[in-house]
């Protein structure tokens, strides 16, 4: 039974890491109704830019600040050069634009900083907490607990932002209908710029944590693939859904890999999360916390 709980806790903590990436997707989706395929590339760009700047001699705080500026500048440019020209276009067009952005960001980042994997040390040991290990015999990583704390703070901040601020409310209106939102005076361009900047910030936090956990390398772009089933399950528009979805996906994929994997040759966690997501799509297409859309026919 101890081992079961160890797997469960390990899964839940991994799930929090997926949620961190999923939050960035939720932000963009809430503002534009578009699945931002480039979110994984933004995570990669943020982490590599931060590490590249520290290698140039910048201190932690300065590198963090400059990276944030770079991410916000990138967001503003995206809004000005890509999104502004696609207002009122079908969502599939915006989605295709984010695919293009993905490859551009990946290529540009490697062009500037190179493709070498780098280490990133945030000063938080990624080792088992001995107290828990000694008393319960369960491995719980200090680093992953820290990441869970960061995720909790971000969810609370984003929930407040969407519910309590004028920009947050405007953002939800924009997500419902671009034209209607514009007609009542909501500044669409500004809203999009804000939200892409916020997604850049979320990508920076996710990039730092994932980079410290796995090393800063191109594979950070694949974190997007981990976030996708989380979004399907939790709902594309829900910040709490990203967290709950992450926890469920993390726990189920780890339990499946450990208890079912050995019976079928192992290596199933990569796709078992998508099977769960698919089942949810069939039963509840909007996800656990997504908004149910009723369209007039």
């Amino acid at each position: 039974m101890t081992f079961f709980f160890e797997v469960l806790i390990g899964g839940l903590l991994s799930g929090v890491m997926y949620s961190l990436v999923a939050l960035g997707f939720v932000l963009i989706y809430k503002a534009s109704g578009v699945f931002n395929f480039a979110q994984g590339a933004l995570v990669f760009m943020a982490a590599l830019t931060f590490v590249g700047l520290t290698e140039m001699g910048l201190g932690f705080a300065m590198a963090l600040a400059v990276t944030l500026v770079v991410m916000i500048a990138g967001a503003l440019l995206t809004e000005r050069l890509v999104l502004r020209k696609l207002v009122n276009q079908p969502q599939i067009t915006l989605f295709m634009a984010t695919i293009g952005l993905t490859f551009f960001i990946e290529g540009l980042t490697q062009l500037v900083w190179g493709s070498q994997p780098r280490g990133l040390d945030l000063g938080i040991p990624d080792q088992p907490i001995e107290w828990v290990l000694d008393r319960a015999g369960i491995v719980v990583s200090q680093f992953e607990l820290f990441a869970a704390g960061v995720a909790a703070v971000m969810v609370a901040a984003l929930a407040l932002f969407f519910q309590k601020t004028r920009i947050g409310r405007g953002l939800r209106a924009v997500a419902d209908d671009h034209q209607a939102a514009q007609s009542i005076g909501i500044p669409l361009h500004l809203i999009w710029a804000y939200v892409w900047a916020a997604a850049g910030f979320v990508a920076l936090v996710a990039g730092l944590l994932w980079g410290a956990r796995n090393g800063v390398q191109f594979a950070l772009t694949f974190t997007a693939l981990k976030a996708l089933p989380v979004l399907i399950l939790g709902g594309f528009e829900s910040v709490p859904g990203a967290i709950i979805g992450g926890l469920i996906i993390g726990a189920v994929e780890k339990l499946a890999e450990v208890y079912v994997g050995p019976m079928v040759g192992g290596g199933i966690e990569g796709w078992v999360a998508y099977v769960i997501a698919l089942l949810f799509l069939l039963v509840r297409p909007e996800g656990l916390f997504g908004e149910k859309h009723i369209d007039r026919v």
């Binding site: 062009l111 990624d126 956990r213 191109f218 594979a219 192992g266």
Partner: protein
Amino acid sequence: MMHRTKLMAWLAAATLGAASTAAFAQAEQFVPLLSYRVGAYAAGGSGIFGGYIDYMNYINMKEGGVNGVKLSWEECETEYNNSRGVECYERLKKRGSGATLVQPLSTGITYSLIDRVATDKIPMVTLGYGRTDAADGRVFPWVFPMITTYWSQASAMIKYIARKEGGEDKLKGKKIVHLYHDSAYGKEPIAVFQEYQKRLGVEVTSIAVPHPGNEQQSQWLQIRQIRPDYVILWGWGVMNTVALKTAQRNGYPSGKILGVWWAGSEEDVIPAGDASKGYTTAVFNVAGANLPLVQDVKRVVYAKGKGNMEDATRVGSVYHVRGLVHGIITVEAIRKAQERFGKGKVMTAEQVRWGLENLNLDEARLKQLNAAGMMPPLKMSCADHEGSGLVKFQTWDGNQWKVVTPDWIAPDKQMIRGMIEESAAKYAKEKNITPRDCSKES
């Protein structure tokens, strides 16, 4: 900005590639390079192809080419993708004087090209990767898994563990986990481990990690439950770093992890930080900026601004030196072919295949090449396309790799060769291939 300058130059070169290839001088020996410098496996690709190009430049600049025949090459980006690898091969195979040989640096691309190279009669060299049973040259005349194969490596790893434990008889009941990249590459040694399970009574459990391997918590929890004496890490790219980090997260000591040679570069351990200290891997080339050949390449090539590595600190790294080894094999095969078919002439692919099958890089020759101790001695033949099987082991001390086995460790050659011949015979039967009679080859 260094990256930007280099990449702009590279892009310009790629753009002008078509024009420059049209202008190939007749006396140039063309080598196609199916490289990868972007994507998830860029660190390996850029290091190895960088070293490969450095060595060809070195021969051109130091000796004016191979007996006066200049080497030329063109890169094609595969991104480690099978279909792109095939596309690059098809694009480059007839460039210039025709492809001398091809080194795809990917087990997946190797499998995709096996039939094509046989049809096109172009030798394919796969150093330390690819299809193991292709070491039987009677069945696979165009494929050369040279120096050492995955099966030889698996055997050498078991021998190394036995040495640490005090003999093969001490392995009975020992638990080993084979943590592998869930691909043809990762599964390749399973047959060898099963054989050792039967022979020595060692318990091997194979655990798969899905591509790309950036999440391994469940695998390491299984390992924690098994409590193995050793973990053999059969990874590639990000999987290696994540394995080391996740092992630390789960309290498994790095000193008990033994990596494959594709898990033993600086790029695998540096991003893992402290988690990699004490970690050991097999290796078929040692690394070091002070190796005589590396020093000479620096003097001849880098001092004149012709070096291919954009990051000078990587010159002499594991991947870079492996690239130099790729270059040595290519150049020495051409040189050997010229001895028979005419010095100072451009060799055809078929002639280079003869050169490969008759290559003998003994200690004396390696010394002449400034590569003594850097790579194992090698003697090829019509039947034996591996030629060596020897490896060393190196441990990461937190700053650099330290060789911990000064001597080269041999696999159980008799056992491995028997398995190779059995597997190759099965392949020959499936494909209706009549094996060559090597006694009739000259």
